[in-house]
Assembly symmetry: C2
Homo-oligomer: 357 residues x 2
């Protein structure tokens, strides 16, 4: 029986709807396992800009630092996407949070629930058994280097940067995770062209001998984008830089049937942050159709990684599995065989998960 | 009846084997349509380094400039990939060629031959009818900016850069192509984070009103990596930066069944260069199993784009189609239903194509 303080940060768009469901699951777990979870809430992204002018108010950051874990939603708003000259943007809040909390490792497990084999655009026989754990570096690369304009604004530039130290700390996390799994690590880079990738490869090669039980391969990012679809089962743990990780994990969501199923954990020096990999999805916001399972599975990661509560985490995953086995689906994971009355909205499928807890 | 001079640049690995077949197809076309094609050959990549110390000898560049078109193979060698500190690399030859010849637009048509519906890892019902034309920018971005080390080699950096001019010239090519197709253009960037992407989006927005008949959408690169697999038919023409194009087109090769089917055209200020999108593939080099169809289809693009020979180009594509209809496959595009005696090697499937010409 533990006492923990959880900060709920729903952010923008469907972040609000799905995080509310994720929180209910945490409440139910606390009740069932006799823990005391306390909650607070804070603003980030577009909603924070509207309220305070700042995409990551100091108060939010302060609350994050003081909590034992953060359940996060999403940030973003089409208004800024279509205005390339906007100076203040929702995403700045997300990036600043990652940097300030030292969240250098973003874990994205890609695993298909058997019941969703039909929901993917990839053939079931290619998918069956695929189980990949991505480690995406989250506080370096072109995301955080200097950027700007030259020549009266006619030329734009972005600087990508990595230090040995930054590569090594995420690489070690990935090697250690590989040890507890199928002992294979694929490091993804573009070392045939990019200097940061050459440093990346050097560091991996240098520390690999310390993990003689882990089989290491290096792949170029373009080849990896192809192999993920062609033969997803060849991957166990994948470690890569921030930008490549952003692209490859979104792509890999198709292995799990839908982006709406994928949870992620951002960990590092302090409080861990848990969030769906899907974004704010303003096209479906407020319609009550968003898939909350990624937020629920993010709560499961939170219980496991930040609180060390394995049984509680497994109870959540198993409840999701049972809901799928019972035939319930949100729209995004329904296939042609799903009867209409089994297609539920955000809250309704959340209630089904609660029943199995 | 035209007279044209074609430079054959096989490069490394399977580049040698497949380009030889591509050349035979050009010879056959010249004979059948009464053209006079003359040929020369030149070195690039690892083979050029071995012979001259230089991945793009001046002599090769000179010959390229003087020819009417270049049929290209591939460059690369594992020896350099595993040595991140190598100073001279095969890829430098490729990049220098692109820069020196002003090949700023790389066209990668992604279209599935109906006979290969079964060969893809994606479900046939998702694929059927997919037809995408990528415009990948080829002489800017992080590929060509300054790169190096700082802090005694402990920090690596790469600079990505784009000017308005560079974005506009490729964007116009893409808009014009969209006009001749389904009139949809998807511009891919990461404008929520990257400054070069913001400039990119600005330029697209600025010139879009000049093409009122083309429907434009902007997508983030991560979302695009997902959508390409989830719903490939939603795309018509896609335009994007060098690095994003590299990743997305390799991924999209799965839409065409195999990378072994995809041709590309690099065009710009001078001589056009035509090449398969697959690489040197040293794991299968010399085994006689490489798929030469991408090189043959590159020859078809060459005839169409550089020589304006539409009928000749279509004759080549139709010959490939007939070979597939006759049931012949290389290993990479065979499916479980393909009988063993229909699986041919590089030369043998090339001979089948020649029979239909
Ligand atoms: C919203 C955006 C800045 C973000 C990123 O690129 O990191 C998102 O795509 C993600 O993957 O968390
Ligand atoms: C070999 C490599 C440098 C090249 C690239 O990244 O451009 C290749 O992947 C390609 O797509 O032509």
């Amino acid at each position: 029986m533990a006492t923990k303080h959880i900060l709920i940060v729903p952010g923008d768009g469907i972040g609000q709807e799905v995080t509310a469901v994720g929180k209910k699951v945490l409440e139910k777990i606390a009740a069932r396992f006799g823990h005391t979870f306390t909650y607070d809430e804070a603003l980030i992204g577009h909603v924070a800009i509207e309220a305070t002018g700042n995409p990551l108010p100091d108060e939010t950051l302060e609350k994050m630092r003081k909590s034992d874990a953060v359940l996060f939603g999403a940030v973003g708003h089409p208004k800024y996407d279509n205005d390339p000259s906007a100076k203040v943007r929702p995403e700045q809040g997300l990036l600043k949070m990652r940097k300030e909390l030292g969240l250098y490792a973003n874990l994205r497990p890609i695993k298909l629930f058997d019941e969703l084999l039909g929901a993917s655009s990839i053939k079931p026989e290619i998918l069956k058994g695929a189980d990949i754990l991505f480690f995406r570096e989250l506080t370096g690369d072109i995301y955080f280097g200097e950027k700007g304009r030259k020549n009266n604004g006619d030329t734009a530039f972005d600087i990508a940067e990595y230090s040995r130290y930054e590569v090594e700390r995420i690489a070690r996390k990935a090697f250690e995770a590989a040890r507890t799994r199928r002992k294979k690590l694929c490091s993804v880079d573009k070392a045939n062209v990019i200097e940061t990738s050459r440093l990346w490869r050097e560091v991996i090669q240098k520390i690999a001998p310390e993990y003689p039980d882990v089989e290491v391969e290096h792949q170029f990012v373009d080849a990896t984008a192809m192999l993920l679809i062609k033969d997803p089962r060849r991957f166990d743990v994948v470690v890569t830089a921030n930008l490549f990780g952003d692209i490859l994990t979104d792509e890999a969501s198709q292995i799990a049937g839908s982006m709406g199923m994928l949870a992620s954990a951002s960990i590092g020096d302090g409080t861990g942050v848990y969030e769906p990999i899907h974004g704010s999805a303003h096209d479906i916001t407020g319609k009550g159709v968003a898939n909350p399972l990624a937020s629920i599975l993010s709560a499961a990661l939170l219980l496991d990684i930040s609180f060390g509560m394995k049984a509680e985490s497994e109870a959540v995953i198993s409840a999701v599995d049972q809901v799928l086995k019972a035939g319930f689906r949100t729209r995004d994971i329904a296939d042609q065989q799903t009867p209409a009355d089994k297609i539920l909205g955000t809250e309704a499928i959340g209630e089904e998960v609660l029943k199995f807890l």
